[in-house]
């Protein structure tokens, strides 16, 4: 079995034609993943019992002649900020190194109910904070395309396993670009659905108004399949939307002629040459398919980073307050008082990036500063969202880069947090507006580094987004 060449469709075809059983595939996929993982450190831990139990259920369905779920037998990886009952979930943090969740995230329940086989949990930046996966307490992940480089972050592990072939699809989380950027860096498809499209129940909270769960895959069709499985209203998450979930794969008809696409002028002005060239070629491909491309404006772009980093750190400081040594495993030794215990536990347990963001968030919410920072940022957020709404009066979708540059070298950017934040410019805007956005591979640089192109559409219009991405994928880049 050629594990890295599998797709959801090939797994299904193999099972239905009895070329292999789900149990055989699961065992082989696990073995392959375990053997290959040391190269990248993408997986943090494997879940063989869970995988084999899931595979057994699929084989029993086949034996009974029952209809198989959309993900039947498919080896899936799950980012370690998403809870899996009975399977260690660390969020990339020393604070949760021994944490065994007592319940499953809704997205996990749904993917298993659809026949998915969870191979293991993937490495990520601590509590999903970061853009390189270098903030993990368990060592960074190496980009499988170039092992001396980062895979991006914070879902670096999930992007890497899909690129490496040690999973067919993976779940990641995206708050400010944490699915799209690693997808771009690793050369795979990464989707951030509309906010509220997928339940956040069981996703360890980072910034509650910005967090999303979304799929990674090697093809647009597989991402659409996985999203269709996990999406939909969940009574456990009151921010999950009641909007119906279309059959995304059925609507991949390649018919994009006449769609109006916008290129934001504010995004294109400072773009580095190789990335800029590849994005231009991507745009030309879509034009050749009959799309109409025009320049649009998103005037609030300059303020988006400041806005995002106020809101997300404020929400993070609140969400991470719970890690205090009482309920969630890790506690600092020998503290005399409760206050000391809180401070020592958090001081010892959190990495630098988490600490930075918690302090920033606490500051912007503190009395005397709340109006100047947090309230102001919420107003700017309304302006960012309005800019997109205005743009979507003129166009059906927006095209953009994902990152100003491709995968950088490990260690290259750890000393300049502000520079790292500024590189999120193309992805945080979509998150602020809550619109669906995805990264689709758009070629490689001369040095062989992948570059992704971003497609953004209106709220709950993943259908158009997937249709464009799928048509683009099939057409390839002009020579």
């Amino acid at each position: 079995m050629d594990i890295p060449s599998l797709s959801i469709g090939r797994v299904r075809e193999g099972l239905l034609s009895r070329r292999f059983s789900a149990a055989e595939l699961a065992a082989e996929a696990l073995g392959y993943a375990q053997a290959e993982n040391p190269k990248t450190n993408a997986y943090l831990h494997f879940s063989p019992e869970r995988a084999l139990a899931a595979a057994k259920r699929v084989d029993e369905q086949i034996a009974r002649g029952e209809e198989l779920g959309p993900l039947a037998g498919v080896p899936v990886a799950v980012k370690d900020v998403i809870l899996t009952e009975g399977v260690r979930t660390t969020c990339g943090s020393k604070l949760l190194a021994d944490y065994i969740p007592p319940y499953d995230a809704t997205a996990v329940i749904r993917l298993e109910r659809a026949g998915g086989v969870i191979v293991g949990k993937t490495n990520c930046d601590e509590f999903a904070m970061g853009s390189s996966t270098e903030n993990s307490a368990f060592g960074p992940v190496r980009n499988p395309v170039a092992l001396d480089r980062v895979p991006g972050g914070s879902s670096g592990g999930s992007a890497a396993v899909v690129a490496q072939g040690t999973a067919v699809v993976a779940l990641g989380s995206d708050t400010g670009g944490s699915i799209r950027q690693p997808a771009s860096f690793c050369g795979v498809v990464g989707v951030t659905p509309t906010y509220g499209r997928v339940s956040r129940y069981g996703l360890t909270a980072f910034a509650s108004s910005l967090d999303h769960i979304g799929p990674f895959s090697r093809s647009v069709k597989d991402a659409a399949t996985l999203l269709g499985v996990i999406a939909g209203r969940d009574p456990h998450d009151s921010t999950s939307a009641d909007a119906p979930v279309p059959d995304y794969t059925a609507l991949l008809d390649g018919n994009v002629k006449g769609l109006k696409l916008g290129l934001p002028r504010e995004y294109l002005k400072d773009l580095m040459s190789e990335t800029g060239d590849l994005i231009s070629r991507g745009v030309k491909t879509l034009e050749s398919l009959g799309c109409e491309v025009r320049e649009i404006s998103l005037p609030s772009t300059d303020y988006a980073i400041a806005c995002y980093y106020i809101i997300c750190t404020a929400e993070a400081s609140s969400n991470l307050a719970r890690y205090d040594g009482v309920r969630y495993t890790f506690r600092s030794e020998a503290s005399d008082t409760l206050s000391d215990m809180y401070r020592n536990t958090r001081g010892e347990g959190f990495g630098a990036e988490c600490k930075r963001r918690i302090m920033l968030g606490t500051y912007v919410l503190s009395s005397g500063y709340y109006d100047a920072y947090y309230l102001k940022a919420q107003k700017v957020r309304a302006i960012v969202a309005r800019d997109f709404a205005n743009a979507f009066e003129e166009v059906d979708a927006i095209l953009a880069p994902v990152s100003p540059f491709p995968a950088f070298k490990l260690g290259e950017k750890v000393d300049d947090p502000l520079a790292m934040y500024l590189s999120d410019i193309y992805t945080i805007t979509g998150s602020l507006a809550g619109i669906p956005c995805m990264s689709v591979p758009c070629g490689t640089t001369a040095g062989g580094l992948p570059v992704g192109m971003q497609i953004l559409t209106r709220h709950f219009d993943e259908t158009t987004m997937f249709r464009l991405a799928d048509a683009f994928e099939r057409a390839g880049l002009p020579a």
Partner: protein, 89 residues
């Protein structure tokens, strides 16, 4: 700031973070350039329905349970989370 956030920092960390945060806060100050006098703050990204539309019926459901809830406690005991002394006798 560390005190407010209940974080104990080493001396080296204080120096490093001070520099980092100064830079970040300076960038964030940019927001003062933009006029937001007539804008309502956006607390929630999507809210077409009324406030109570997403609430479920007020019907009790089985809870997580004491044992499961304490399974990851740093120091459980007698059905509780144990912590250092809060009030001196």
């Amino acid at each position: 700031m560390a005190g407010l956030a209940n974080l104990k920092l080493t001396d080296a960390e204080v120096v490093r973070f001070q520099a980092d945060l100064d830079g970040i806060l300076e960038h964030i100050g940019k927001l003062n350039e933009i006029d937001t006098s007539n804008i309502a703050p956006m607390a929630q990204v999507l809210y077409e329905a009324e406030e109570t539309a997403t609430l479920r019926a007020d019907v009790p459901a089985p809870p997580l349970g004491n044992q499961a809830a304490l399974a990851n406690a740093a120091q459980p005991g007698a059905g509780y989370f144990k912590v250092p002394i809060v009030i001196e006798r």
